[in-house]
């Protein structure tokens, strides 16, 4: 008798649990971002409604990411993929093709290109070819860590996620709004820190920072690579060293995947200092999310240029 009652009770409890709305957590939207900056921004916009993974790590050169089948597996399971666009993550097309995920095929509802509406810098005005190195015919694609562009990027993410899950649009919009308010507050601090060094010149290894530098009133005076993606020639380095000395430039910005030893040698020769900064979320220790990465760069530059 007791046993029968227990069984009935368990069955009733299970039935009740199945009937109560929200008793079971709704499955999260599975999103894959091609680079960690976009993972962080998608997490900010998606909140608890999404589960985001990145195809690359911040310490990698996104131009030359190796297309691994493990990327294809992530994409196979994904409801949406967030892409940088402008040629930075063109390799993602190969990974998507190998994922056999119809939703992510070109033109599919799960493709989210965050470069829509971005005011692109360094768009070539003359005919380009590869004698100029790895030039991007559509312009410089390294815009994701410019906090001033976060509103546009997050709007694209909201629109993309809402295509896949229209019922969550209001939540995505609210998350975006909260994130931008937080970012706005940090922006005031960052501007305060950067105001005294506005107009300072810096040298970069690869032209990754133009949006960020422009945003905070800094000037990219030269690049160690005379042609993007091609190892620098000795003559070019001699010229850059001379320029650094002549213009009393204090800082060389380096990505983790650059030849840091070479940057240090040039800096030493020219009387400047090379800094490995967060070229992406996760590129350096402490730059674990979008705001932390910008924070790291601002603090590094503000100190170095003072």
């Amino acid at each position: 008798m007791v046993k029968r009652l227990t069984v009935r009770f368990v069955l009733a409890a299970l039935a009740a649990a199945a009937l109560v709305p929200g008793a079971q957590a709704a499955p999260k939207l599975r999103v894959v971002a091609t680079i960690p900056d976009l993972k962080s921004l998608t997490e900010a916009v998606g909140g608890d409604l999404v589960e985001v993974d990145s195809l690359t790590r911040g310490t990698q050169n996104f131009h030359e990411a190796e297309v691994r089948p493990s990327m294809m597996l992530k994409l196979r399971r994904a409801d949406a993929v967030v892409e940088n666009g402008l040629g930075l993550d063109a390799w993602a097309d190969v990974a998507i093709a190998g994922s056999n995920n119809a939703d992510l095929a070109p033109g599919g509802r799960g493709r989210i290109d965050i470069s829509r509406g971005i005011q692109v810098l360094e768009v070539p005005t003359t005919r380009v070819d590869r004698s100029m190195g790895d030039v991007h015919p559509q312009g410089n694609p390294h815009f994701s860590l410019d906090p001033g562009l976060a509103p546009t990027i997050t709007q694209n993410i909201v629109d993309g996620l809402a295509r896949v899950a229209p019922e969550h649009r209001a939540a995505f919009e609210q998350n975006r709004k909260d994130f931008l308010i937080k970012l706005d507050a940090r922006m005031a601090d960052w501007n305060k820190l950067m105001d005294p060094v506005k107009g300072s010149k810096v040298v970069v290894f690869h032209p990754v920072y133009i949006y960020f530098l422009t945003r905070f009133g800094l000037v990219q005076a030269a690049a160690l690579e005379d042609r993007p993606g091609i190892p620098p020639s000795p003559q070019h380095l001699v010229n850059v060293i001379r320029q650094i000395k002549d213009e009393r430039i204090k800082v060389i910005l380096v990505e983790p995947w650059n030849d840091v030893k070479l940057a240090n040698r040039v800096a030493e020769e020219a009387g400047a200092k090379a800094f490995v900064v967060a070229s992406a979320v996760g590129a350096v220790k402490g730059a674990d999310n979008y705001i932390a990465a910008i924070d790291f760069n601002i603090n590094t530059l503000a100190k170095a240029l003072r």
Binding site: E64, D113, E122
Partner: protein, 457 residues
């Protein structure tokens, strides 16, 4: 009534000049608007016809750039209608950056030149790696590739190539690949059809100019011919989403035109192919890919021929490196082929009966490549293979060094020593030729022009 009519006439007489003035003002306004619209249309057309202009100068640093963010971002949201949500968004987004009059697909050109130096007797026997082209420098593969989205559902790829096939021969242009891939099929499936390099093992699908060695491994050349397995037909792939690792299951049906292993060339007696490939991320820096392949068809003599293959590939790419430091690879083919052997009982040189036999043969290779610097890599490959029908075997060792001035240009120098158990039939031409022991110095120069999609792993 008369009074009413008079009043109306009087009012009309008074109002007409005023109406005329209004109409004239309206016309002027409309004309102004028309001119404005025309100006804007022309401007828009000009802008659309040109690439996006660069900013004249970097935008000045604005205080509080995030102030660009609306104080209430949600108010900036563009309302999306249900119709808009229902249809696929940006169906041709790949081409939005392109200007008017530009192609809606990509074009890539690959040039692959090979040179070799070998012994005189090998040249006479035509027994070098590039048979009939010993002691020559020649364009092996000049390829024009056109590829892109056909529509939101399918992708097309066309490769046309030319190259020297024998010394002195006129070079002909031929179709290397032409495929159509259906990308929006359900349940993680895709179908590719046309003429293609088959996904048998991992290196068979790789074009000559993209191989990590100067020449295709001996096991492929011996069992499938110099070009490997290139067939006409269709193959379908399935990628399950419930496994903790990437697995691709492939099945295909082809004509079976490859004369080295099959040759029946009929879709009603097809060459059936299959492959299972799994990939494991061992760590962030190390990965392993393993695969097993099958090809089963009929020879021109209508006898069964089956190839079983394995492939392994391991890569170690230290954190932050732009290239792998170490790549290890191995592939092997086990051939089971029915053959007909002539029996001459009376020794008159004429076969008196035919006997069917099954030949079991095996070949494999192992390769290691080290790339300590971005521009330089060095490696070696060891080949050992039996012949699919004839008795005997051969082994070879091929150390090489590659230099990459850039991602799109490569020079490679290799030395290959081949040791065969028997002299080839071609050695018996009576011209003093022999290719039992072959030493070759191989040189390769490869360039890429235009678009070239990344290769997976």
């Amino acid at each position: 009534m008369r009074a009413f009519a008079l009043t109306v006439v009087a009012l009309l007489l008074v109002a007409t000049p005023a109406l005329a003035q209004d109409a004239s003002a309206l016309r002027r306004e409309i004309e102004q608007l028309r001119q404005q619209l025309q100006g804007l249309t022309e401007r828009l057309q000009r802008l659309e016809a040109q690439p996006a202009p660069p900013p004249a100068a970097p935008p000045p640093a604005q205080p509080a750039p995030a102030a660009q963010a609306p104080s209430n971002p949600s108010t900036q949201m563009s309302p999306v209608s249900p119709t808009e949500l229902a249809r696929p968004r940006q169906p041709f987004s790949l081409y939005q950056q392109r200007g008017a009059g530009q192609l809606l697909f990509d074009i890539g050109i690959a040039g692959d030149f090979v040179g070799n130096l070998t012994q005189k007797n090998v040249e006479k026997a035509g027994g070098g790696t590039f048979a009939g082209r010993e002691n020559r420098f020649f364009p092996r593969e000049i390829e024009v590739a056109l590829f892109g989205q056909i529509d939101p559902y399918a992708r097309g790829e066309l490769r046309i190539e030319s190259g020297e096939e024998a010394a002195g021969d006129e070079m002909t242009v031929h179709l290397a690949e032409a495929t159509l891939t259906l990308m929006t099929l359900p349940y993680g499936t895709q179908v590719k059809l046309g003429q293609m390099r088959n996904r048998f093992g991992w290196s068979n699908a790789v074009h000559e100019h993209d191989l990590p060695w100067v020449d295709r491994p001996d096991v492929y050349r011996v069992f499938l011919g110099e070009e490997g397995l290139v067939e006409k037909g269709a193959e379908a792939t399935w990628v399950p989403d419930f496994l903790p690792f990437y697995l691709q299951v492939l099945g295909g049906v082809f004509n079976g035109d490859n004369e080295s292993a099959f040759g029946r060339g009929r879709i009603n007696h097809p060459l059936a192919t299959g492959r299972v490939m799994a990939f494991f991320d061992l760590t962030d820096t190390m990965a392993l890919q393993v695969g097993a392949s099958l090809a089963n068809g009929e020879t021109a003599e209508r006898l069964r021929s089956t190839l079983l293959g394995y492939d392994l590939k391991f890569k170690y790419r230290p954190e932050g490196w732009l290239h792998p430091l170490l790549t290890l690879a191995s592939e092997g083919i086990y051939s089971i082929r029915r053959v007909e052997r002539g029996l001459d009982f009376d020794g008159d040189g004429i076969f008196d009966a035919f006997q069917k036999q099954t030949k079991h043969r095996f070949g494999w290779y192992a390769s290691a490549e080290l790339q300590p610097w971005r521009r330089w890599s060095l490696g070696a490959r060891y080949d050992a293979t039996q012949y699919p029908v004839a008795p005997g075997w051969q082994w070879a060792v091929e150390p090489y060094v590659s230099f990459y001035p850039s991602e799109f240009l490569r020079f490679r120098l290799a030395y290959k020593h081949t040791d065969k158990s028997h002299r080839d039939v071609s050695d018996l031409l009576g011209n003093g030729g022999s290719s039992r022991l072959v030493d070759e110095l191989l040189f390769q120069a490869t360039f890429i022009l235009g678009a070239h999609p990344a290769h997976p792993f």
